[in-house]
Amino acid sequence: MCGIVGLFLKDKSLEPRLGELLTSMLITMTDRGPDSAGIAIYGGETQGRTKMTVQSDTPDVAFDGLDKALEKALGGSVSMRVKSTHAVLDIPAGTAANVRMLLTEMDRGIRMMSRGDSLEIYKEVGLPKDVAAQFDVSNMAGTHGIGHTRMATESAVTTMGAHPFNTGDDQCLVHNGSLSNHNSLRRKLRRDGIHIETENDTEVGAAYLTWQMQNGATLGDALKNSLDDLDGFFTFVVGTKDGFGVVRDPIACKPAVMAETDQYVAFGSEYRALVDLPGIETARVWEPEPATVYFWSHNPTSPTSAKAA
């Protein structure tokens, strides 16, 4: 099964409540998948800075003095917010690739969850309510976010197998369903030099989008092409710096419900996830069509044609 939720805010006055609303939506979806949970929050960006969310199973050791060590190696200012097993590194813009290399060299057992100017991803094994509490998601503000609760089918229940998956700068993917050609596609993508860490099917879906965009496709094109190249069942929700997108495979047996008001656009695997949103009684509620790419964006210029960063 798996449960997906997404919330894109149009009304700025709701932004301080983004984490709280998403958490409540995700907890409602717990019985669609209790294995692991994750949330991607777009909390806004700072000029000249970018962010990297990292994870460690031994945060006390791994994150100890990490900011100072990176600062020294990088020669630019680095600040760090530690949240349980995760840490958000605030680094100078344009240094993400360098920081990633330094983290590998330091060999502290640190894994990268996300990179981007606005995006932060928090995910761990456990129930949505526990994972949300672990990272204090309820108190996070932002413009939009997506969440996932997993019922594992294709690979192990681990932090790295949890969703959302970071696909490119400020981009992430969550998935309900299962891909059946992930093994052959993984081999093909690895031959083309795409880094794929686990045996998870969704990670291959995420890597596929990355690969498409590296080869010049827009995110909208990459999603359209996924309908031809990915074999299996999927409802995907993708997060971008400016908004989010939804696409379902042509068979569309994985459920999806959307709601829109003047204040927000919301996505849920089921209507249950949406019932506590403000003004839901009068919202336009509908089911997204199969094999159709949908996008909502804060950026008035077409988000589907925007090239990947």
């Binding site: 042509p250 569309a252 047996c253 459920p255 419900v257 089921e270 209507y271 249950r272 996830a273 949406l274 019932v275 509620v285 509908w286 089911e287 199969p290």
Partner: protein
């Protein structure tokens, strides 16, 4: 009228209360408030009662219904009125995938649109959709009538047996072994009755009838190599 607040007594207690109603019950009208998209609301009813759900429902509302009338004053999730035997189910909004699946009897009316696989493997149920229906509807439909006042999606009536399919609007594509058929007076009569019962003012003459071309019924020795 009896009112049940689902947020107070919970799903099992609510369904238990409705199941306890016998054929000769005096409590014939029920209202369920705060459904909040919950699953399996008013499932397995077997008494001539009328249940009105004040809001939208989740999976399998009014599944396996016998005798009862269930009104959903909102939209309905997947599998609504699945395997209905008799009775009536009215959905004011839209219905998600496989509404009325495998239904043996009774009437399902959807005032909005129905999603994919509406009436899949229907076995005698009558379904009237005021709006459109999605792809693969009436797949392997065996008997009963599916009436669509709007348009039908891809692969309508794929591999169907003797279910009758009536569509007023366009059909995106017909499924394997489904074809347009002649509309005879007896079909117009069936359609007139169903539309009236479903509260639709659509004219029977505006519909086209589709059904099985009956080529998939039997093993054809010429196809032996395909297996």
């Amino acid at each position: 009228m009896q009112t049940i607040d689902l947020s107070k007594i919970g799903l099992r207690e609510m369904n238990k209360t409705l199941h306890a109603q016998a054929a000769n019950t005096n409590q014939t009208t029920w209202e369920i408030v705060n459904p909040k998209g919950a699953h399996a609301i008013a499932c397995g009813l077997d008494a001539p009662i009328e249940v009105t759900v004040k809001g939208s429902t989740g999976y399998y509302c009014a599944g396996m219904n016998q005798q009862a009338t269930v009104n959903i004053k909102g939209s309905a999730g997947p599998g609504t009125a699945e395997n209905m035997m008799s009775g009536k189910v009215f959905v004011d909004g839209d219905a998600s995938q496989y509404a009325g699946a495998t239904g043996h009897g009774g009437l399902l009316v959807i005032k909005g649109n129905a999603s994919s696989r509406c009436g899949i493997s229907m076995k005698g149920i009558n379904i009237v959709v005021h709006g459109n229906i999605g792809h693969m509807s009436a797949f392997m439909g065996q008997s009963g009538n599916l009436v669509v006042c709007g348009d039908a999606g891809d692969a309508l009536g794929d591999s169907c047996y003797e279910a009758r399919l009536f569509v007023r609007g366009s059909v995106k594509s017909l499924g394997a072994d489904c074809e347009e058929k002649e509309m005879r007076p007896e079909h117009l009569e069936i359609l007139r009755d169903l539309l009236a019962e479903a509260g639709s003012d659509a004219k029977p003459e505006d519909f086209k009838r589709y059904g099985s071309a009956r080529n998939l019924y039997n093993f054809d020795v010429d196809n032996a190599a395909a297996y």
